[in-house]
């Protein structure tokens, strides 16, 4: 192989690997959903079904908050997968290390909590063009949620100041308010 050919191959490989990295970044939400499905042998439910179920709750929540519910996530940025009425039996420590390994490199872990060996929650973040993408994974004994949202710098600052509290608020907003 000539030097020119070799350079050409290297350039193609670099472009290809960069494209793969970008692709992987975009697909991490789906990868996490698949990881949960495979690890726990469960199936997630689609958003249309949940939207119908969530509409009533959304109206109630908006009414409680005076009709002007706080908006944390950037409009249209929410990706949500919910698992309901299924058993999440498995070694949570093994799941934790598998999840961390799958997301390391692209995502920065912010906070991970485990409660009583049955509840797990994870918050990962990454920068994306002046905004911040947050991946929140919550697993309980019979249900789980995978949520990806984009936050403005202002709301990301809130998340950093209080990772657990703001993480919970984002999850509540996405699973109740955004179903409207």
């Amino acid at each position: 192989m000539s030097t020119n050919h070799f350079k050409y191959v290297v350039v193609v490989l670099l472009v290809f690997s960069f494209a793969t990295m970008v692709q992987a970044k975009g697909d991490d939400f789906n990868s996490v959903v698949k990881l949960i499905e495979q690890f726990y042998n469960v199936k997630h439910e689609g958003i249309p079904f949940l939207a119908k179920a969530g509409m009533g709750a959304a109206r109630t929540a908006a009414r409680i908050k005076g009709g002007t519910a706080r908006q944390l996530a950037e409009a249209g940025s929410i990706k949500l997968a919910v698992f309901e009425d299924q058993d999440f039996n498995g070694e949570f420590m093994k799941f934790r290390s598998t999840l961390n390994a799958a997301l390391s490199g692209t995502w920065l872990p912010l906070v991970q909590t485990l409660s009583g060996a049955t509840e797990q929650s994870y918050i990962f973040t990454r920068e994306a063009n002046e905004k911040y993408v947050v991946l929140i994974i919550s697993i309980e004994q019979r249900e789980a949620t995978v949520l990806q949202v984009t936050l403005s710098p202002k709301n990301f600052a809130r998340l950093l100041k209080d990772p657990e509290g703001t993480g919970r608020a984002i999850a509540e907003e996405a699973t109740i308010i955004d179903q409207e």
């Binding site: 912010l110 906070v111 485990l114 409660s115 911040y132």
Partner: protein, 193 residues
């Protein structure tokens, strides 16, 4: 001749390897990041485990997102200046004796390393023992570690970078740093007033 040649072939890379390892150890000695993974097994026994990892990249991001106009955010921004990481691992148990002295000893052993000093005049309003350690890189503070051990709770806080107790007190309740209720002679004096 052949044997000397063989020895030289082996010796040269061996010396190079030892130099690399030695340099690694020296660099590590002044690194204030302590390894907390030895505590991970406690998560299986704990009622509640909190693991916060704010590394240098996240701190850089945080410095960008906090506003210079809001007083509280400006203060946080100043607190974060120069920091390279904030790491917290906390376990709450239902019963006594869920973690062993050996678990704590693995952490203490690291804090006996070069540069680390235990601050003996620091106490806490919290029950149990609270040990505060500072890593000095010459005249500069290179990091801080807090080891709080109660009967049913074990918490380790590790702040990497230039941080003092005043800074730590301001970080309490933020970035996942728990309220450690640390009292220094200075704060005690203030309380007495």
């Amino acid at each position: 001749m052949k044997s000397i040649f063989h020895i030289n072939i082996i010796r040269t890379p061996l010396i190079a390897l030892l130099v690399i390892i030695g340099t690694g150890f020296m660099a590590r000695a002044q690194d204030s990041r302590i390894q907390l993974t030895s505590l991970d097994h406690l998560a299986a026994k704990a009622n509640q485990t909190v693991d916060v990892a704010i590394d240098e990249r996240l701190i850089r991001i945080a410095a960008k997102v906090f506003s210079d106009e809001k007083t509280d955010e400006k203060e946080i921004k100043q607190l974060l200046t120069g920091l390279k990481g904030i790491y917290v691992k906390s376990f709450e148990f239902e019963n006594d004796g869920q973690y062993s002295p050996a678990d704590v000893e693995v952490i203490r052993a690291q804090l006996r390393g070069p540069g680390w000093t235990r601050l003996v005049n620091v106490t806490s309003k919290k029950e149990g023992s609270v040990e505060v350690y500072l890593l000095m890189n010459g005249e500069q503070i290179g990091g801080l570690a807090v080891l709080a051990a109660e009967d049913r709770e074990l918490t380790v806080v590790n702040i990497v970078g230039p941080v003092d107790l005043e800074k730590l007190a301001k970080l309490e309740g933020k970035f996942g740093v728990p309220d450690l209720e640390i009292e220094t002679p200075k704060t005690k004096k203030n309380d007495d007033k």
